[in-house]
Amino acid sequence: MTMRFPIGLQRALLCLAILLAPLAAGTLRADDIMPPAPYAYRQLDDPALEAKAQRLMESIRCLTCQSQSIADSDASLAGDMRSQIRERIAAGEEPEAIRTWLVERYGDYITYAPRVTSLTWPLFAAPLAFLALAALLLRKRFGFGRPGADRTDGGGAA
């Protein structure tokens, strides 16, 4: 009664079953199946406002998929946040005001555009410090500004 397949075919069928399992288990995924919020996947009619919203959404971190922006993520919470942002921009709010509003709730973690704070200032200061250091070292090496200390002209008047 039991069907017998050659071992190679059995393996192939097993692989196929494993590959197709997520499709069959679509109803079991641990996420909601509510229809998305109105502006989660719909752009604003005004291109200028949509561009504003898009710039903000690209720099707001998704809380579910933490290395994506909410513009990139299909997580439901990201969709809801996109919709909220588009609706607020359409109502005339400024993107930076919305960013501040989000930072008040989730901290600096939510934004991909870091602010200068007592904690983050070394991030901004370090490149400047390295540039200054490099300038100092190069200055020494090329001997700028030290007319008496040129090494190539050893045979000149003493």
Binding site: S76, L77, L102, E104
Partner: protein
């Protein structure tokens, strides 16, 4: 570079000997840093910065039959309580339901915010896991969730009698968390 007899400027001169090990030491430091990151990964939890702040204004419609909806003024009636952010599609939410039932049985008022949930699914969830909630608001578009800085489900907020968030518990409430929650409720004036 010139080989004019023995000199102390060669590759093994005392002054340079230790610098030979510098790249290896830096590499070891790097490996240690990576190992530390792998063995003790940073927490992925995003705590709400809204702890200590008053709840924002909101008014959610009822999410389940037999329970009223939830608005801000319900949560500022002079008595501290728990606000449980949950959903029927969330597995850990079912795990914490015995603990919520115990807290409710101990006289703690628990209100619920059902996030992006369908009425039928929620009814089934409450039937399977019990219903410790006095009120359940339907937050179909994550307005309240984002409004209080919640980044997932389940999360439980302790709200004092003036409607101020006093404490946030991220993830499911396990039996060992109950004493801490009761302490925090007492601190909030229960």
């Amino acid at each position: 570079m010139s080989s004019t007899g023995p000199s102390d400027t060669g590759p093994l001169a005392p002054a340079r000997r230790w610098t030979m090990w510098l790249p290896l030491a830096l590499f070891a430091l790097f490996v240690a840093l990576v190992a530390y990151g792998l063995l003790w990964p940073a927490s992925k939890e995003v705590p709400s910065r809204f702890v200590g702040q008053a709840l924002p204004e909101f008014d959610l419609p009822p999410a389940a039959a037999g329970r009223p909806g939830l608005k801000r003024s319900d949560l500022a009636d002079g008595k501290p309580r728990l606000l449980n952010v949950f959903a029927s599609w969330c597995i850990p939410c079912a795990v914490e339901s015995p603990q919520l039932a115990r807290l409710a049985a101990a006289g703690i008022e628990i209100d619920g915010v059902a996030v992006r949930d369908r009425k039928a699914d929620l009814a089934g969830f409450l039937e399977r896991n019990g219903n410790p909630y006095r009120r359940i608001g339907a937050d179909d578009r994550s307005i309240v969730q984002v409004g209080i800085g919640s980044s997932g489900v389940p999360e439980t907020y302790l709200i004092d009698g003036r409607g101020v968030i006093r404490y946030q518990h991220i993830g499911e409430i396990r039996p060992e968390h109950i004493p801490l929650l009761l302490d925090k409720l007492k601190e909030a004036g229960l």
